[in-house]
Symmetry: C2
Subunit: 327 residues, 2 copies
């Protein structure tokens, strides 16, 4: 089922007692660099350090009370894992999370600290969906999909609703909104919310090269698989193809997508730390990376970049700063 704007509004009411109302803040540094007005949506400050809590919280809040004791199961490289674990903890539900063994230690430990049971798998050899399905059958636990689910998309869309509200409060009209994209739950939910809130902003997905399934799908007009290949530094953004429900929304709501290289992402991580004073994980910087790499010209325009997550190991950020110091 494809979500509608009312689902985003309902999600906003449902998660309000639990989620952080994250700020939209103008960046004088990026204004000066681009000649436009650049606003940042700081989902790095969301509960669990990424936007993923929004969707997970909305999805779990919709599980009937008499089914909650069976718990939930999810597979995730880390941010969805923490979002689901945190929501499960708040609702008193057991959670099993299937995570790749090469996920950042901060994400694995963060998930464990939220009371979830972790099952690790090999990203190349194992089938995470099969592992999750088995756990689901054994326990009767609800599977919480990372993006291809109306409740998840509506939950992520609440970030877009807040962007629209804050833009109105600041008296600005957004021309473009750029969002990191993996399976596409965030970018499609945000586009749904912005349109519903009356914004005419163009909403763009930003993906790592080789994992730019959304960009390719939008160009083809149908879901298309990205080539994949060597793992990206953006561990959170490696879905090879957008979700089915996601793309039903995306094909009508999104402007053309962008792809960025690993070096673009690493440069953005370094820039964020040194110039913006923000610790952003590689995948979380994708929208910023697209701006810094010149994928979009912000001169004379008003744009918003979603910084979607901050769950990098500190060493990852330090390495980026050492290798590509901001000028």
């Amino acid at each position: 089922m494809v979500p509608v704007f009312a689902d985003v509004e309902a999600a906003a009411a449902r998660i309000a007692p639990y989620a952080v109302r994250t700020p939209l803040v103008e960046s004088a540094v990026l204004n000066a660099l681009t000649g436009g007005r650049v606003f940042l949506k700081l989902e790095i400050l969301q509960r669990t350090g990424s936007f993923k809590f929004r969707g997970a919280c909305n999805r779990l809040a919709m599980i009937p009370l008499n089914e909650r004791s069976k718990g939930v199961v999810a597979f995730s490289s880390g941010n969805h894992a923490q979002g689901v674990a945190a929501a499960a903890q708040l609702f008193g539900m057991p959670a099993v999370i299937v995570m790749p063994s090469d996920a950042p230690r901060s994400k694995i430990e963060g998930t464990r600290a939220l009371g979830a049971q972790i099952v690790e798998y090999d990203r190349v050899q194992d089938d995470r969906e099969a592992i999750a399905a088995r756990i689901r059958e054994e326990r009767g636990a609800a599977l919480v999909r990372p993006y291809d689910d109306a409740a998840i998309i509506a939950g992520q869309g609440t970030a877009g609703l807040e962007i629209a509200e804050d833009a109105a409060r600041f008296g600005v009209t957004l021309d473009d909104v750029l969002s990191p994209c993996s399976g596409g739950g965030l970018v499609s939910g945000v586009a749904l919310a912005l349109k519903g809130a009356g914004s005419a902003a163009r909403v763009h997905s930003v993906e790592p090269e080789r994992f730019d399934g959304m960009k390719r799908s939008l160009e083809a007009g149908a879901r298309a698989q990205a080539p994949g290949g060597p793992l990206s530094i953006a561990d959170a953004l490696m879905a090879p193809i957008p979700g089915v429900i996601v793309f039903e929304l995306a094909k009508d709501l999104l402007a053309p997508g962008f792809a960025v290289s690993d070096e673009d992402l690493e440069r953005a991580v370094s820039f964020a730390a040194q110039k913006l004073k923000l610790l952003v994980e590689p995948g979380g910087t994708a929208a910023l990376a697209a701006l810094l790499a010149g994928r979009i010209d912000a001169r004379g325009k008003t744009i918003a970049l979603i910084l979607s997550g901050g769950n990098a190991d500190f060493a990852t950020v330090a390495a980026a700063v050492a290798r590509l110091p901001a000028p």
Copy 2:
């Protein structure tokens, strides 16, 4: 002249076209840690990376147009320098900044990049006030004091006005507000603004041990000098005694002050980077350091911490994370 609340309101209108409306954001991490509700005022996101732009912009905006060509002069360890340089650049005024030669390179370079002329001095041997006075006489430039000036205090107070506005928007009543304190312009301006806006929040200064002139002055009921001694890691917070005008406000408006050790500050720098995803300079973390070190019990209370600046060299933050990793 001691500023009044109307001066803060006038300052807010004056700086609105130039200053960033920085966010107040709730921290789920600190809520969980303290059992209270903890909000962060992110002055690290202010233009030039610290609150200092507010006061400097207000002060320079009040210089008559026919005196602007003579320019301004200021002495500063770095954040005031950048605030003054940025405001001067916006108003097309020449600026000379007298800076200690041991200031963080990021602060010296940041000031130079804003078009200011830098005059370096030795923090131990030279008299920065005398150097600034000489430049002032030679050029007829206006001296922009770092804190003991009604226009500066009123400008810094605009941060307090925004805290009051955002607390109202979130429907919360603040019990306590903690602010880093050096000469006291920020903490006294914020206290003036909060009281004027109808808040009954207790406002506390937080200073490094050995440089806790405000805390000692409040205890004594009169301006008192801190002992000083080895330089603090908080390069921005080493004024030994609060300003005269500052203390006129502070003695009536402030709750008891707190002092924190260098290790408390370094631990807060590490915690901010790892758990809050924020790059905060040592002095900028003083309020957070006081909370983490147990100077105030936030359980069941609603408090706001001002993170006043983020202009640390990245290596300083990396060293803190390496030495005192967050648990």
